[in-house]
């Protein structure tokens, strides 16, 4: 087989080198693979679903087996998802695996990014790949949101409606942007087919392209590794690509798929027949989006009423939490390697990872960010929290409005102190002299 290929491509040398390529052996390096494998499962189940789904807002009369909706006028899109769920054999399992895999996909990207952030793996030369990763996170959220809107049920229609309202809030351009994106004033019939094209073609193509770039850069730059005996900036220590790493990855792929299959079969998700078809004049309560959009929903809920009108130009308040905040968040995230370099003036290449406690200030900032987004996500369910804690939505919202300022700062500061003292202890144990990093002030300067 290899001889046959080599006779045509001359790859024996490359194959030898590649098969022996070293992969460091650490569980945290599998988080990115988890994202990749969830994506593969998304593609596989997604192709199946595409064969049965109809991206069509035309009204039809439901005549399927789900009795409560019998005879009701629903969109062809909604009807086709009901058909997938109740009539297509193994359709429901495929649909539920697809939805769970989407949640795991975005989740594993986020956890993978946390690993990369706290260990400083984003530093030169991997700053490039960090940016690719941030764009992939954006695309992942976009894929999730467009897919979530396709069944044309009441809940997803609510999400679209809010997206439209955020888009229309952009000063000067908003109404034009919203009309171009939706094809007119909300609700429009054409939006379903547009979302469909984005969800099954544009976004997956971009993700596949960028994942390829992500992996090619990784292959070229070689892996980072944690500090340890025999590990230096000049080598990579670990297991060979073949057979060890390939076997391990294959096992992870199968196990990821296994867990998602169990979830898809046993745990109900997005029962659109309970939500009912989209109707512009009703909305269900409580309504929550998928988890990775929760932070945006929470920001909209927490932001105070603050429509500004200056010189006849109104800036509706959803503009700030809906456009400015996420824009800033992703800009800071994408630019982080350069921001940190500005402060530390550390231009060097790094292939050895930091122990998170080596750089307490980074731990502090990272934890503060996580608390911030965590609180926003909680705020996205303020009505559910109100029921859980038997409080009024007003009380929960007001508490969160204060917490969003207090907790990230104090939590970040606490994390900074803990990381610093852990780092100190470790240095003392190892008998090291107090290094430069320990004199770093809380602002990150020296």
């Amino acid at each position: 087989m290899l001889r046959w290929l080599d006779g045509r491509l001359g790859i024996a040398g490359l194959a030898r080198k590649s098969l022996k390529k070293v992969f460091p052996d650490h569980w945290s390096f599998l988080l990115g693979e988890l994202a990749l494998f969830s994506f593969i499962i998304l593609l596989a189940t997604g192709v199946f679903l595409t064969l049965f789904y109809r991206p069509d807002a035309q009204l039809v009369t439901y005549r399927g087996p789900y009795a409560p909706l019998q005879g009701q006028e629903v969109s062809a899109a909604y009807e086709s998802v009901l058909r997938i769920s109740f009539e297509v054999r193994s359709g429901l399992v495929m649909r539920q695996i697809h939805h769970w895999a989407a949640l795991v996909f975005v989740g594993s990207i986020v956890v993978h990014m946390m690993r990369v952030f706290f260990t400083g793996a984003f530093r030169r030369p991997r700053d490039v790949n960090w940016v690719v990763g941030v764009v992939l996170l954006l695309l992942g959220i976009g894929a999730g949101f467009t897919g979530y809107s396709l069944p044309d049920d009441l809940l997803s229609g609510t999400g679209l409606r809010i997206a439209y309202s955020v888009l229309i809030s952009v000063p000067l351009l908003g109404p034009h942007l919203a009309f171009l994106a939706f094809g007119g004033e909300f609700p429009t019939e054409g939006i379903i087919s547009r979302l469909f094209v984005m969800h099954v073609m544009l976004i997956p193509a971009l993700i596949i392209g960028l994942v390829s770039v992500h992996l090619a850069i990784l292959w070229r730059q070689k892996h980072t590794q944690y500090k340890g005996a025999g590990r230096t900036e000049g080598n990579v220590v670990g297991k060979a690509f073949w057979p060890q790493q390939v076997m391990k990855s294959a096992a992870l792929l199968a196990l990821t798929a296994a867990v998602l299959a169990f979830m898809g079969g046993l745990l109900q998700i997005n029962p659109i027949w309970d939500f009912g078809p989209f109707d512009a004049t009703t909305v269900s309560a409580p309504s929550q989006p998928d988890w990775y959009v929760g932070w945006l929903e929470g920001a909209l809920r927490l932001f105070p009423p603050l429509d500004l009108t200056l010189f006849g130009i109104t800036i509706p308040s959803p503009f700030w939490p809906g456009v400015v905040m996420p824009g800033l968040a992703f800009t800071v995230m994408g630019a982080w390697p350069w921001i940190e370099r500005r402060v530390t003036r550390d231009e060097a290449e790094h292939h050895l990872l930091d122990d998170p406690t080596d750089v307490p200030i980074r731990v502090g900032i990272g934890v503060a960010g996580l608390i911030f987004f965590g609180l926003l996500t909680l705020a996205g369910g303020n009505d559910v929290l109100a029921i859980m804690f038997n409080a009024s939505v007003e009380q929960i919202t007001n508490v969160l409005r204060i917490a969003i300022f207090v907790l990230p700062a104090s939590g970040g500061w606490l994390a900074y102190r803990i990381a610093a003292s852990l780092g100190n202890n470790k240095s003392n144990l190892l008998g090291r002299k107090r290094g430069v990093k320990l004199r770093r002030g809380p602002t990150g300067g020296f």
Partner: protein
Amino acid sequence: MKPERVVAVAFAVSIMASMGLVGVYVSGGQAQAEGALLGTALGGLGVGLAVWSVGLLPSRTRSEEREPLSSDDALVDRAEDDLHPSDITRRKALVRLMAGAGGTLAGALAIPALSLGPRPGQDLFTTPWTAGARLVDPEGAPLRPGDLVLDSVTTVYPEGHVGSPDAQTLLIKVDVQDLEMPEDRIAWAPDGCIGYSKICTHAGCPVGLYRAKAHELLCPCHQSTFDVLRGCSVTFGPADRPLPQLPISVDEEGFLIALGDFTEPVGPGFWNMTGGGG
């Protein structure tokens, strides 16, 4: 147990589960069984591979040298030279012109994107409500003030536009004595039949919940709360503007009619909403 045995058992379990999966499919399909069997089949495969990779493969650690990524300066310089091979006179100007041509072409090709949607025009400023339009319930039946029960809420539309997304209006019957609003606005609520746009001024959700006791309308999306007796001013939540009030009157046959469209845009805000469009 020896790793070989574990691997063999795991793969055997996987095979049986896969066969079971086919069985379930053939016999009509059942979501839970399919998920569990598919999970077992994949899980058996995964466990087998994992035990194989941990227990049966040589655990030898390798070390690989890392060549520096950056090339030496001279090579970079030569590559730079290769990139800009000739010394054309006025190269800079020509390159700029080429970039200009490319950019202009890109702009021209982007124009068809405008086909994606109409210009907003007056769409955001108007709804199907017109002077004299009767208020009808979701079944299309016109309403008299006497048809409404005190503290009840009905979604109404202009006659002929049932289901219209931007005309949807909440008609609430209150005691006129309780209204604390300017006289001219109270005049828009004959017999305490007061109408407000149902579309939230924050993010456009239908304001679907009415707390009759407190006379509050609550938007289920982001919990904006509006005081029905005070012109639907915002008492809580992220909305900043009251729900627009529909001017209502009664025609000679005693049916509720609109005196005209809403006097301000309904729904979520946009930059020129106070300008009246154009």
